[in-house]
Every structure is written in C-alpha cells, then in structure tokens.
Symmetry: C2
Subunit: 210 residues, 2 copies
DNA sequence: CTTTTATCGATATCGTTTTATCAATTATAC
DNA sequence: GTATAATTGATAAAACGATATCGATAAAAG
C-alpha cells in the first residue's frame, strides 16, 4: 500500500473517514461513493475522492463507488492502528496528568508506557520516573514516540534529550517551536493556538453585531 | 486595530510570539526585530515580519525593529485575552474530566463555567449538569463558546442544541465533522488526526531503515 | 553632514492544497 | 443489446500560504 507520499492534510482527514465508514459499515451495502462521504462529513466531493483513491488498494467502481471494506483496511494501514505504538510522556504537571489519565489513546494506537518529571513520584496510580532516567529507558525500551507536556522554557532541552536518544516523533503540547534534526517530526498540539482562532472568530462575530 | 482579515495560520502563531515576547520583555530593550523573533522561534523571518506588521498598530522602525509593548498589546487584542471568555463544556467522560481539571485555560482567556453530561453528577469537585438544562443555562448566562467532548455519535446532536441557543464558537474534541450554520466557527482538536500524522511519519521512517 | 548598515515594507515567485471541469467507465434500466 | 445515468479518474484552474528579493528608510557611526 502507498504509505509514504500522503499529504499531511489528507492524513489528518483519514480518522474522520474511518470513523464514519466504520459506524455506517453495515448499512452501506458494501460500496459507498465519494459523494456520499463528502455529503455526510461536509467536505468537498473531489477532495474526498482523491483522498479515498490514495488510500484504497482497489479502484473505485463507476456507478457504485469504493468498496467499504478495502477503504477501512487501507485507512487503518496508513494510520498504523493495527500496531500499537509505545510512547513516553515527559512533564507530569496538570496537562501531563490529564493525558495520562485519559484512556482513549490506545484506541488510536498510542500506548504511554512511562512518564517522567523533574522528580520521581506517582500520578493516577502510575509511577513517574525522574528525568535522569530518560535516556536509559528510551533506549532500553526502544521508544520512538514522545509526548512533551513540560513548560515552554524547558521544552527545547527535553526535546534535545529525546532526539539524541532516537525519538522520531514528538507530540508537543508545550507552547514552543521545537528545533529537531532532519527526520524527526513534531506535531504541535497547542491549546493556545486553537483558542486563538476561536477567540478571534468570536470577537469579530460580536463586532459585526454592534 | 485590524482584528478581522488575519489568516488562520497567522492567528495560530500569535500565541508563540506572545509567549516569547512576554518572557523576554525586560531584556529586549524596548524594541525587537522580526529577525530576532524568527531566530528564537525557528520561523522564517519574512513570515514573522508579516505577522508582526499585521497585529502591530505602529510601524516597525528600520534599524530598531518593532516596539515590544505595542506588539504585546496588539497580539493580546487580536486574541481577546483581555476579556476572559466564558464557556461551557459538554461531555464529562475521560477527556472532558481531564480538560475540566486542567488549570491552564484561564491563562489563555477561557473560563469554563459549567459542564454537562447525560446525567447529573460531580467531577473534580465540580458539578456536572444534566443535558436537559443545557439550553436554559446557555441563554441565561449568555455563553458564546462551547467545548464538545462527547463521543462522535452524539457530537452533531449536541452541536445542534448549542447553535440553536446562540453558541458562536465550538472547540470540538470529538472525531466528527460538525455541520454548523453560517457564522459559527468549529475548531477541531482531534487527537486522532494528530496521532495519524505522527504515526504515519514513524511508519515511513521505520520503513526507510529496513 | 555624509556614509554605512540594519531593518522594514512591498512585490514577486514558488509550492501546496483545494476546487472545478470533463472525458472515460460501467452498472442499471429498458 | 442499447441507452441512460452515476461515478470515477485525470487534468486544469484557483486560492492560499511560505519564501525570496530588493528598494526605501532611518538609526548609528565616522
């Protein structure tokens, strides 16, 4: 299957397709058209067609659409949801603890196996390791994914430790732009950025009404 | 100030600038150049210059840069961080509770004043209201922002209730595309989408090494 | 006062993503 | 078997965002 060469934007839409396809699998009669998916998810039809064609092994059939089973399998393959990825989390503050207690990650293929903070402790019944043990544990467990939930000031230094020890993908919740070596991906999950967009929209909507 | 007509991407970068500018306000000597900010945040210089020029009242001064005070004020204005926005949260499952217990939102101008779920209860010492009271409370408190943390299946129906009652901005954590009336903004914060990007990157990096 | 130089602002170029268009294909109906 | 209609796949156009280039400006230095 074509795993590489999928645009980031397409990749971000795949979970939406998957969710819809799985929850409607039975009633779709085996095939579904790009137009139907687009209408359901409120997306552009051509965009959906291109996305689906990218991930689906089999071609779409005129007058019928794409075979739902192949679509689901193709998307799952691209997302790697069949093999759970082990990850570590650095920063056991408020947000870090909240994420640790969130049970929904495994469903998406992420398994947080260890958490770290400045000093040892426990949170939600899970052991928090001292930062000094970071390098050791990453390399021994051969971890490739890390979640960063430390304050912005320390994000880069934590990031440096991580990449030096072979981390390839970082899910960054700190409000800081991280510099990483080539080949390492940073996915920023900045609550503040999202709130920025929301809040600005709200403000201009309110202004309109004055 | 120019609140409307700011691109979404610029808007998402504003919190980064703000964070950097505030934490370096004293040592910057009053003025800072776009190049300096760009270097610190690992961004393109021209991009930063354009962004800063968009939000700053005063023009940048050759050989000096932008006046930091004006920058901070301009960004805060755009983000509406001076007036905390009251919000409600619907869905007190794992993720919802995690967000409720997260103390960092007010810092960014969001204040969750009430939470709702199918049935009443308490979480983290906060009262959870029954969904039936949603309409009433939204209109009485004149809430304009809502956070959705319900399962994908019920996201659209919750969303409909919200928009019917005057909600203008929705922060959607459910893996579902929401259809909203014109003028309502949905900001998707899909963990699954982010994980999709991370996981796919990891997969293709690992494939390279084989 | 003049020269130098850092910085901005504007314009142009480039690449990516989205959207539009249309011919090719094939199931379905007659 | 032929016509019809839905749907795809491919190509083109448009929109958007990021980056490069360069002249204009004003502070600083001589």
């Amino acid at each position: 299957m074509k795993i590489q060469g999928i645009s980031t934007q397409t990749l971000r839409r795949l979970p939406y397709y998957l969710n819809y396809l799985v929850s409607n699998e039975t009633e779709s009669g085996g095939y579904i058209s790009a137009a139907a998916v687009a209408a359901a998810l409120n997306l552009n039809e051509v965009q959906v067609r291109k996305d689906l064609a990218t991930v689906c092994q089999t071609r779409g059939v005129p007058k019928k659409g794409f075979f739902v089973g192949d679509l689901i399998e193709g998307i799952r393959d691209c997302l790697g949801q069949n093999n759970v990825n082990d990850a570590i989390l650095v920063g056991a503050g408020n947000l870090g603890r909240a994420l640790l207690s969130y049970k929904g990650f495994e469903q998406y293929g992420l398994n947080i196996v260890a958490a770290f903070d400045l000093k040892e402790g426990t949170a939600n019944g899970k052991k928090i390791f001292a930062l000094s043990k970071l390098s050791d544990i990453i390399s021994r467990l051969n971890i490739k994914i890390a979640v960063i939930t430390v304050p912005a000031e320390s994000a880069q230094s934590v990031c440096d430790i991580l990449t030096r020890n072979g981390i390839l993908a970082i899910w960054n919740f700190a409000p800081a732009h991280l510099k990483v070596p080539y080949g390492v991906l940073v996915q920023n999950e900045n609550m503040a950025s999202s709130l920025a967009v929301l809040s600005n929209h709200l403000k201009s909507e309110m202004d309109k009404k004055l």
